[in-house]
């Protein structure tokens, strides 16, 4: 079977080989024809008479220079048809041996390129008379120039790195004697992802030197017109990486990419030039540059004597340990001795933390910052600077257990935020610390509510703002994020807007539980305070509660007596007419049984809000009260009158008694002899 297959292949191979040979034969004969035709009157044939000799040399600047011109190559070059004098125009009609011809001016034909070149780094160097500066021929060659697309071209993509590398590699006079910020350019490039693609994988569309630096308009990156100027880098890179902003969305806001490239980290801040990899090269060289100065603990800013010391270990332990200095301090200019001297503004965290930045800007903190309020906290007031840590890190200022202390810096009584606050909440921090949330947090329960759990971290707004997480309309949802089951109950209760349909202001969580001093509901204080809370709206019914046993003993501090919510339910409070209510006909006995074991439906007939002030609603109670009061008054009037009438007679009796006693005494002292009195004494 394998043999048969081979045979078939052999058969096909023979046919193809025949066809190729035939084509080649035709092509060859055509070439010969053309060559013989050309040779008949080949331009520059005269010149080649001498310059065709490989041995033709001359001495320039004490160096032997070959004057050989490969006629065949010249003829095959793009300029072959122009003849020698097409370029060496000054030799037209000259006798042999002619003078050293003038330098060929390519710009005669290549006007546009010449102009670009003249303005370029290389062109200016030539104008300065820099002997190391390259001219057209240094890159393009002279007599054997072929189209760029031709693989044989000296400036074909695969060759460009080496063309540039003639000068721009380690050890060359250019690299040694000229100020070029980058080193080992060719070496780095060939190891970069671009160089690898081009040189190792033969990907001819991979960027070469000229792709970024352009071919003729090469300018230093400090020149605003340069393709590699900070402002233009993004545009240069996006020539190939056209949708790079999509994958860099988290780092760079799309619309800023081209509009305000100066505020953004440029591509090269992360992907260093010539060493480009598909990973960050951030922590290496760039940071070391900054740390040359900023590692000095004594470094201070002249303007305000602020310490400019940056602790490398702090940064390396921070959340941003893999972020380069220049990614945050984005206006640095690497070409300066002090790259940071071009920085005009502070760190803008939103260039990476875009979403959070938007939220922050709408928050009260952000609004105040926008108004240049010096008290308003920006990112760093809470998150710190170089040592920024994630909120999951127990050392972080934003770790759950540290949040109240963090907010307290401004919101503790007497501090700058508390001083300007005009609302009802006071002793916020102290109250929170003693609240159930605060106690749990102190006990290390990190999932309990801290300031940010209710107020959010970045979208803090005053409660009057409808967008605020602590606005009355949003409070149930905010609390419900943790207390979900309770929120569900509450949303179905009479107090929920949807159910109650009341136009009056309905209570939400904090109206009963308070905002910051939230207690366990089985604590005495909560149980005793609730009537006052319910009574804020249910004034009359709370009053009548205090006319009954439950209310009276509650007022004396007896926590076990039934409070409002013991009967009505707490979060699931409903109209008593609602069959689902704890006080509905079907449920009321069970509700009483919570305290009064064995309570019956008849027991529940006790009027828990009875008052003797309301004859219409509670006639029996009313008339019993007045009946008893009548009995009381009657008895006291009769008893009191009897006593009052008695008084004068009683005083009379007292007088008579005293007189009688006095008489008896004098009578006795007159009767008895003094001796007996003496024994008595």
């Amino acid at each position: 079977m394998a043999e048969r297959k081979n045979a078939r292949w052999k058969g096909k191979g023979c046919a193809a080989r025949g066809a190729i040979l035939a084509l080649l034969a035709i092509a060859f004969s055509l070439l010969l024809l053309e060559r013989s035709a050309c040779a008949a009157d080949q331009p520059g044939a005269e010149c080649l008479a001498c310059h065709g000799e490989k041995s033709l040399t001359t001495t320039r600047a004490r160096k032997t220079v070959s004057l050989f011109v490969d006629g065949k190559k010249f003829a095959a070059s793009v300029h072959g048809s122009f003849g020698c004098t097409g370029c060496h125009a000054d030799l037209e009609g000259k006798d042999f041996p002619h003078e050293t011809p003038a330098r060929v001016n390519c710009g005669t034909c290549h006007t546009a390129e010449q102009e670009l070149y003249a303005r370029s780094l290389h062109g200016k160097a030539i104008a300065r008379g820099d002997p190391l500066a390259p001219r057209c021929v240094n890159c393009h060659g002279n007599h054997d120039i072929v189209p760029v697309k031709d693989q044989r071209s000296a400036v074909a993509p695969l060759k460009v790195p080496f063309v540039c590398g003639q000068c721009h590699q380690e050890g060359t006079p250019v690299s040694r004697n000229r100020q070029i910020a980058q080193d080992n350019i060719l070496g780095n490039y060939s190891e970069s992802i671009h160089g690898e693609a081009l040189l190792k994988k033969g990907l001819s569309v991979a960027p070469t030197c000229a792709t970024c630096h352009t071919a003729h308009s090469i300018l230093p990156h400090t020149d605003p017109a340069s393709s590699i100027a900070r402002r233009n880098i993004a545009a240069t890179c996006t020539k190939c990486h056209s949708q790079i902003e999509i994958v860099h969305r988290k780092i760079i806001r799309g619309e800023l990419w081209e509009k305000q490239a100066n505020v953004l980290p440029a591509c090269v801040d992360c992907h260093q030039p010539h060493k480009i990899r598909n990973v960050y090269y951030s922590q290496g060289m760039a940071d070391a540059d900054c740390m040359r100065c900023h590692a000095d603990e004594k470094l201070r800013r002249a303007r305000d004597d602020k310490s400019m010391y940056v602790s490398a270990s702090e940064v390396s332990h921070s959340r941003h340990s893999k972020i380069a200095c220049s990614q945050c301090h984005s206006e640095v200019n690497a070409s300066r001795v002090r790259p940071c001297e071009t920085i005009t503004r502070g760190v803008d965290c939103t260039s990476c933390h875009d979403e959070i930045g938007k939220l922050y800007a709408t928050s009260i903190h952000g609004q105040l910052t926008g108004k240049n309020d010096l008290n308003a906290p920006s990112c760093k007031e809470c998150h710190g600077t170089h040592g920024v840590l994630g909120k999951q890190d127990p050392q972080s200022s934003t770790f759950a257990t540290n949040v109240p202390g963090l907010c307290a810096r401004c919101h503790r009584e007497g501090q700058k935020a508390a001083v300007r606050y005009t609302g009802r909440q006071h002793e916020i921090i102290a109250n929170y610390t003693e609240s159930i949330h605060g106690i749990l947090l102190k006990n290390g329960l990190t999932v309990t509510a801290t300031c940010t759990s209710c107020h959010t971290a970045h979208h803090i707004l005053p409660r009057s703002d409808p967008q605020s997480s602590v606005n009355a309309a949003n409070v149930p949802v905010t609390c419900g994020r943790c207390h979900h089951g309770i929120e569900e109950q509450f949303e179905n209760s009479i107090h929920a807007k949807r159910v109650g349909g009341s136009t009056k202001e309905l209570p939400v969580c904090n109206d009963c539980h308070t905002a910051h001093a939230i207690r366990r509901t089985d604590e005495d204080n909560f149980r005793l305070d609730i009537m006052g809370k319910c009574g804020r709206c249910h004034e009359d019914i709370a009053k009548t509660y205090f006319d009954t046993y439950h209310g009276k003993v509650s007022r004396l501090g007896y926590t076990k007596a039934a409070k409002c919510y013991d009967c009505h339910g707490s979060h699931d409070v409903l109209r008593v007419t609602d069959p689902r209510s704890h006080l509905s006909r079907a449920n009321v006995a069970a509700t009483c049984q919570k305290c009064h074991a064995g309570a019956t439906r008849r027991f529940a007939g006790y009027l828990t809000h009875a008052t003797h002030h309301d004859p219409k609603k509670y006639p029996f109670v009313f008339y019993t009260f007045w009946g008893m009061t009548g009995l009381l008054l009657g008895t006291f009037v009769v008893g009191g009158l009897h006593t009052l009438l008695w008084l004068p007679r009683a005083f009379q009796m007292r007088r008579e008694l005293r007189e009688a006693e006095a008489n008896a005494k004098t009578a006795m002292s007159a009767e008895t002899p003094p001796a007996k009195e003496g024994t008595d004494a």
Binding site: T548, Y549, K552, L556, G557, G598, T600, T643, R649
Partner: protein, 281 residues
């Protein structure tokens, strides 16, 4: 006991059991009044202070119910004592009720009341009262009435689940009002009218401790209960009922106790007046 000098002896008016019962009654009554009124006037600062003194409301409740049990005990003991009195001295209940020492008001009490009122307005002599005056009888039956009314409603409130098996739940509301207002009547009456009639009457001021010692001076008997005195002299039984007075230390102790009871009683009256007039809700 060396020389039984008749002049030094005192007339025994109350038996030892009666005196003990009266002391028990005072203690339980004041306890009930204080603990109960803290609840009735729970809206005054006073009530909160008192409730706290009693160790909180819960403990005040225990004291109230314990005192109620003592009160019931006093009442039942008295009934048993009455039964024993009937067995000992009377052939029938009728004789007990209609006898000369009976507490049950009769026609003579009515005429004494009329006579007393005439005396008050200066239209007659002071009636010659017997062993029990009409106001003493009123006080005695007021206790019967009070125990019946306050005791029954109190039990209803103590055992509401049991009582609502056959009474409507709203009866508890009625019971609350009756219990508390009747108690107010009792405390108010005892600490004003009763106090005046027996202790603060100018001729007895500041107090009459007969009910604690059980004894009274013969002179006093002659003056206050002339009819009884005469009856005793006539029957020749007076001598049997004369006993020696207590030692001064005993008298002092009794006086101290009586002063405390008196002071507490008056404080309660002041508190009630304050609560009713200035803090009423």
């Amino acid at each position: 006991m060396p020389n039984r000098d008749v002049a030094e002896l005192q007339f025994v008016r109350f038996t030892r059991l009666q005196r003990i019962l009266h002391i028990c009654m005072i203690v339980s009554f004041i306890s009930l009044a204080l603990t109960g009124l803290t609840l009735k006037f729970s809206y005054t600062k006073w009530a909160a202070v008192l409730s706290h003194l009693f160790g909180g409301f819960e403990s005040a409740g225990y004291i109230h119910r314990s005192a109620a049990v003592v009160m019931f005990g006093v009442f039942i003991t008295h009934l048993v004592d009455l039964y024993r009195l009937k067995r000992r001295e009377h052939s029938s209940w009728r004789s007990l009720v209609l006898g000369p020492g009976s507490m049950v008001p009769n026609r003579r009490d009515w005429s004494e009341l009329v006579g007393t009122l005439k005396w008050f307005v200066g239209r007659g002599e002071r009636p010659a009262y017997g062993r029990w005056t009409y106001w003493e009888k009123f006080d005695y039956f007021a206790v019967f009435w009070g125990i019946a009314v306050i005791g029954s409603t109190g039990l209803t409130l103590w055992f509401p689940v049991f009582f609502t098996r056959f009474l409507p739940g709203s009866f508890l509301n009625i019971a609350t009002i009756v219990h508390s207002d009747e108690a107010l009547l009792a405390t108010g009456f005892i600490f004003t009218v009763h106090f005046f009639n027996t202790h603060l009457r100018p001729e007895k001021f500041p107090m009459d401790i007969t009910v604690f010692t059980g004894r009274m001076a013969l002179e006093e008997l002659k003056r206050d209960k002339p009819r009884e005195y005469e009856a005793l002299v006539a029957s020749g039984k007076l001598e049997e009922q004369m006993e020696e007075a207590y030692q001064p230390i005993v008298i002092r102790t009794i006086r101290a106790f009586a002063w405390v009871a008196l002071a507490v009683g008056f404080s309660i009256v002041l508190w009630i007046i304050y609560a009713m007039l200035f803090a009423y809700r």
